[in-house]
Symmetry: C2
Subunit: 421 residues, 2 copies
């Protein structure tokens, strides 16, 4: 893409009404625009990142048999009364609105009810199960405060998968698969090293749920990990585990066979997997007829990831004083080509060659000073920076630098495609 055609402008100063680091950088670099506290629009570069994250998650969900649907934002009161979650006294962060006739309507804050209600109309037999269904959608939660940028939105973009199994055994097999699948997602988007599969409180149907917690100063959760496990994240070995503070005790450590000194870390939940059992299938009468002709309750699980939060966490973990440092898998472009020569001939050639080779490249073809171009490139945070200058041309070369590195390297122009690929 030609940067001259990108209308978004970078901003030098952090916006005054924005305390969070992720939102400051994302707004300054032109990825998002603030509509109000906890509500952001995604500008062209921001949408590219959201879609890259979405595609990674979609691939992983489909790999375990997930099937995508698109449920409505507007939610029917009658449906939610079945599970007793309509009343604001039970769920205190509903956003609700009204039809012309005065009837109340809710805005999706989660999806168990919508799915249970739809499946009740379609599932009858053991032959229909198991089922793994998921949505990408806008979710709305009426947070009292919202000042963490993309980390806690009033409106946010979300993936939730629900599993519908014939029984607890079948559920448990899938639940274990989802631990792996979720780990894959967080590794692929570049936060695996600081993300921990974490024991958290369970429900009626399981002693624990599992959270994926990423160590992060801006996080609102506290987890405990062994002091040697910092930075090992999803590669922690057998006999190691992270535990959410809400359930952390010495007895639990013993139960789980964990030894040694555990440390408190601030963390943010980037995903969670939960055994719902028959909590929702019961009120929705979601049954099936098994092989012997008996009626059985469907056994459910839920698996959520906030995509916009994930985007915020990636920024919180990958930045320096100058700006963002995108991991390659989610970066808006692979290469940022900066032209410092006014005639652009050499840069045009390199740009066109890269486009032909399918390399994602943002080409700064604007009339700006080298200093401005360097500063903006650092703020935007594309992984590879390529500079074409009089000096580099004189050596038939381009200057190559990784965003997180200080070292510049002169690479022969004819070798640059191979070097980047």
């Amino acid at each position: 893409m030609l940067q001259s055609q990108l209308f978004t402008k970078t901003i030098k100063e952090a916006p005054k009404d924005e305390a969070s680091l992720n939102a400051q950088y994302l707004i300054r670099a032109g990825f998002i625009s603030k509509e109000m506290a906890g509500v952001y629009s995604y500008l062209p570069l921001g949408l590219i990142i959201l879609k890259k994250i979405e595609n990674i998650i979609r691939e992983e969900m489909n790999a375990v048999g997930g099937i995508e649907m698109k449920t409505s934002v507007m939610q029917n009161k009658e449906v939610w009364e079945k599970s007793n979650r309509w009343d604001d006294k039970v769920i205190d962060n509903w956003f609700k609105t009204k039809l012309k006739n005065g009837e109340e309507v809710g805005l999706s804050f989660t999806n168990e009810e919508a799915y249970s209600n739809i499946l009740k109309q379609h599932v009858n037999s053991y032959k229909d199960l198991p089922l793994y269904l998921y949505d990408f959608k806008e979710i709305f939660r009426n947070e009292a405060r919202s000042k963490s940028g993309l980390l806690r939105g009033r409106e946010f973009y979300w993936k939730a998968l629900y599993s519908f199994s014939k029984d607890e055994n079948e559920h448990n097999d899938f639940y274990e698969k989802m631990k792996v699948v979720y780990s894959n997602v967080f590794k692929r988007v570049g936060i695996g090293r600081l993300t921990y599969l974490t024991y958290a409180s369970g429900g009626t149907f399981s002693r624990f749920s599992h959270e994926f917690q990423t160590i992060c100063e801006a996080g609102e959760d506290i987890i405990y990990i062994h002091k040697d496990d910092y930075g090992k994240g999803l590669k922690m070995g057998q006999g190691h585990a992270a535990i959410n503070k809400e359930i952390y005790t010495d007895d639990l450590k013993k139960d789980l066979g964990l030894k040694g000194n555990f440390e408190e870390k601030k963390a943010i939940e980037v995903g969670n997997i939960f055994t719902l059992g028959t909590k929702f299938s019961k009120p929705f009468d979601l049954k099936y007829v098994d092989k012997n002709g008996d009626n059985k309750m469907v056994f459910m699980g839920s698996y959520g990831i906030g995509l916009s939060r994930l985007m915020g966490v990636i920024v919180e973990l990958n930045n320096d004083y100058h700006g963002i440092i995108w991991p390659e898998a989610v970066a808006p472009f692979k290469v940022h080509l900066l032209d410092l020569v006014s005639d652009r001939k050499e840069s045009d050639k390199i740009y066109n060659k890269m486009i032909r080779k399918g390399i994602e490249v943002l080409y700064d073809d604007r009339d700006k000073s080298p200093g401005e171009k360097f500063a903006e490139a650092d703020l935007i945070g594309i992984p590879w920076r390529l500079v074409v200058s009089q000096k580099s041309i004189a050596k038939d070369s381009v200057e190559l630098k990784k965003r997180q590195s200080d070292k510049m390297e002169l690479v022969k122009t004819k070798e640059i495609i191979k070097r980047i690929s």
Copy 2:
């Protein structure tokens, strides 16, 4: 896809609470699920169709320089007060909700304000223009009644592009391009023959706007076309035009150089393009500095298509007593392979071959009677039906039938891929 893995069930009887043909068929065939009047969820097959329509529109928007963004659903009162469209007395179909602190928030019912507000923060110079930005998003309109299925939703899925031009001339050039681009969209999704570029009422900045009206009994609009032009739709010749009833007069016909007998037709608006001029740039103070250093107002246009409505219109136009007949470009699959032989060997072979060749195929591998399989295939409406039976196998053949045709054809099994491609 194996039909045995598709959890949605077809329904023989139309749902009692659904008067519209499109919703009846789409619900019966398992494409959508009704959440409440005017609000539907998209089941796996329905989502495939919505995405096919979305991809066609995206390709056409990108072809004229469109850049995709993702604006928020939640809308800021202060922003809408600038254009005087916050008050319910001005806009009577807002859905609004409240933050915990009592502040009101709107749900997107259109996007002019959101875009103008964002661009105000980024556009300064003539070098930034023109700009063509678009969103796919959920739109919410508080309709008093909503009983036309996908044709008029309270929540619906929508594409809107806004153009930001330096002046009226530049705007007019793009506006003409969009007539072509919109025509391409409607031709590609298979409704070009009955869709008419239609003169409709303009605004302060243009005598007319243009609607794309599709002749359809379920439509709420009336258009006039020459009696010889029925079925010519977007291929109407020079000197022919359709006119919306709201502005149709003999004087206008004369002005437009139209002659002959015009007939009333019921129609539905599937798209509209509108010259906004400075209606929104003024209240948002959306200016730029031109080449001479003078301040000028940005000149805007809007271009909308409701994707869910389009899906409904396609069904209204393409069906018979037995069910839907999807145009190939938006069909959920190209081929519906029905196996009538219990051992499945021959069908499995054909299915796997098609998958390898990248042909989209739904394979009915279930234990059901031939009658049930035929009826469901007709209801779902996939363009090509392939039947493998004892009889066909005996002749090394498969039975091939187009959904809309009564003629069955025996095709040699080894030739079927070539025949279908």
